[in-house]
Amino acid sequence: MNGPTHNDTQWREIQRNASFQELVQKRSRFAMTLSIIMLALYMAFILLIAFAPGILGTPLASGMVTTWGILIGLGLIVVAIVLTGIYVHRANGEFDRLNARVLEEIGQ
């Protein structure tokens, strides 16, 4: 039960299914986009720390103690949570409906 078998050909049928192809395409693109956004933001943050820490140490406004670094750091935490939430929302709604349609169409 743990692994695909050779004589099981149902997957070939699913692979040709238009809804399945739509699901895979949409979900992969969405997941990739969000991954790249997260990775890029985090890497930008790390590179900023490594090469230009002064930028993060700039106060938000003159006379203030709070720096851009604090805002960006806390902001990134919030962004990480929000991006995850956006993915779940779409995956558990739209993608799962599409998945259910695939299963229905191939008579599962």
Partner: protein, 555 residues
């Protein structure tokens, strides 16, 4: 302030060690045993009583292998999210990061970020495919279409290396922490932690472990929320006011508001970032939690809940660290005659608990810190035992034909052995610097477990040869570079200068793993390699749709 540090953080390169201390869960120097803390012990006993009752309840429900490894797949997404955060938020996150914020301000946030960003990546790249393909361990997924025995062997070694390093760091940290918090003897503390860990896992399996982690997460989040709230109340809910007051009293002044000495050069910065980010996605005890929910939908929900709680928790530790600057560093009650923080800087969160909530709340937070360690080690022990019983015994030795009852029995024996080994090593490493161990565990997870797991799900041309050689090379590179680097070569072994100049190996060891896997896969023209590539499509369909995925078991 700096002069007070070496009491608990090893003398030497302070900036570096602080960073490692935050990762390590371990107080790395000698500590003085404190007087017996009665409220803390009472509250801890209540926690132990409740969790042991749950373990007894779980032991009656735990019958099959699926119950034991995956709580029958009956955990809900929300519960699992809470348990994941309980598995992940260690005493290091709480005490270490708040201590890092206390001593160097902004740098604490850099650490928190690294620990958090792995979670969105797990969500986008791994969670649902992992759930759809696996049953009990991530090796199920890595070996799905590859040759079972070599891939399971590699994954089991990757898991055990991570578990062993993490476990030793936790045991040593636990012993020292309990000396400080409860006034108990180090050896007693280590034995108590080891014994409770064995009890939870041996009798209650994944179900009891899950509940221990959920309860711990709830009380930790409650305690930290209360402390942050009290700090914010003190500054009239103005973050600017909090920072203003902190800058005014901190010896480093305004520099605590920007990146400091934590990250010394770009290579180390990127290497650390990669280890934290992708290491999380290769931790066996975390990956195992994804099989406790019924389907991919619940798996996704659990990552969202976990990311939310973990992110919230890091924001709290940041506020707590700054709160400690204004409320603990200025209060002579928390300092000894030389002006050093009593018990060392790792204790600032605990002192802050006393400052904002009195001795009863201090006891509560001490008990929470102990509970935190227990929840983490229980998850580790279960993951380690599963690697032995499910991957090595059932997969490699019995070639997937093991009797289920016997497999679970092997797992339980493994838990017992792991518990004894953990106690012995915890005592053996009492006066050693174990700060590097968690860093190494993350690096190994990022350089061996993660590349093999990721490519097995995403890359058609991956073959057994590529996975085993590449993953093995990643594992070896991570360990060798860590040994030759500043942390072990200079600080532990006492050489003058490191052979490998950077603190973290992940940038290079991950590159070695990925290149190795790629090279030894594409040059693999064997018949078995062709078959493995052919199986990718069927695996892909299952990973996307969940058809054939192991489901929840009804009782």
């Amino acid at each position: 302030m700096k002069a007070s540090l070496p009491r608990i953080v090893l003398s030497g390169a302070i900036g570096l060690l602080l960073a490692d201390t935050a990762m390590a869960d371990a107080l790395t120097g000698p500590v003085t045993q404190q007087s017996l803390n009665v409220p803390a012990i009472i509250m801890f006993l209540i926690f132990v009583g409740i969790t042991l009752y749950i373990t007894w309840w779980a032991s009656k429900k735990s019958q099959s292998a699926s119950d034991y490894y995956a709580a029958g797949g009956n955990i809900t997404g929300f519960q699992n999210g809470l348990a994941i955060s309980g598995d992940f938020m260690s005493a290091a996150s709480f005490l270490g990061i708040s201590a890092l914020v206390f001593t160097s301000g902004y740098d604490g946030l850099i650490y928190s970020m690294g620990f958090l960003v792995g979670w969105p990546m797990i969500m986008f790249l791994i969670a649902e495919r992992l759930r759809n393909l696996g049953r009990y361990t991530f090796a199920d997924v890595a070996s799905f279409r590859l040759s079972k025995r070599p891939v399971r062997t590699l994954s089991a070694f990757g898991s055990l290396a991570v578990v062993a390093l993490y476990l030793i760091a936790q045991m040593v940290g636990a012993g020292k922490l309990i000396q400080l918090l409860f006034g108990l003897n180090y050896h007693i503390a280590v034995v108590v932690v080891g014994a409770l860990m064995v009890c939870y896992v041996l009798f209650g399996g994944m179900l009891a472990t899950t509940w221990v982690q959920m309860i711990k997460a709830a009380i930790l989040l409650f305690g930290a929320s209360f402390m942050a709230l009290m700090v914010l109340m003190h500054v009239n809910f103005s973050l600017e006011g909090l920072f203003n007051e902190a800058v005014a009293v901190h010896s480093s002044g305004a520099s605590i508001m920007s990146p400091g000495g934590l990250v010394k050069d770009p290579i180390s910065a990127i290497s650390l970032g990669l280890a934290l980010m992708f290491g999380t996605a290769g931790l066996p005890h975390i990956l195992m939690r994804f099989f406790t929910v019924g389907n991919a939908k619940e798996a996704r929900k659990s990552v969202f809940v976990a990311t939310g709680f973990i992110g919230y928790f890091y924001i709290l530790t940041f506020i707590i660290g700054f709160g400690a600057i204004i409320l603990v560093s200025t209060n002579p009650v928390f300092q000894d005659s030389t002006g050093a923080i009593i018990g060392g800087t790792n204790m600032v969160a605990v002192h802050l608990a006393n400052a904002v909530g009195g001795s009863i709340f201090l006891g509560f937070i001490s008990a929470v810190a102990f509970a935190t360690i227990l929840a983490v080690v229980a998850g580790l022990a279960l993951a380690g035992a599963s690697a032995i019983s499910h991957d090595l015994y059932a997969g490699v030795i019995m070639k997937d034909n093991a009797d289920e009852k016997k497999e679970v029995r092997i797992s339980k024996i493994s838990v017992l052995v792991l518990g004894i080994v953990a106690i012995v090593l915890g005592i053996a490493f009492e006066s050693q610097n174990v700060a590097f161990m968690v860093g190494l565990a993350f690096s190994i997870a990022a350089s061996c477990n993660f590349p093999v797991l990721l490519l097995s799900m995403y890359w058609r041309r991956l073959t057994t040869r590529g996975a085993v050689i590449g993953g093995g090379l990643g594992l070896i590179t991570a360990i060798v570079l860590m040994i030759l680097g500043p942390t072990i070569w200079v600080q532990v072994l006492g050489h003058d200068s490191p052979i490998y100049p950077y603190d973290y190996p992940a940038l290079f060891s991950m590159a070695v793993a990925f290149i190795g896997i790629w090279l030894f896969s594409i040059t693999d023209n064997s018949a078995s390699a062709a078959r493995e590539r052919e199986l990718f499509d069927a695996q892909f369909v299952r990973s996307q749709t969940g058809i054939g995925a192991s489901g929840s078991v009804a009782h």
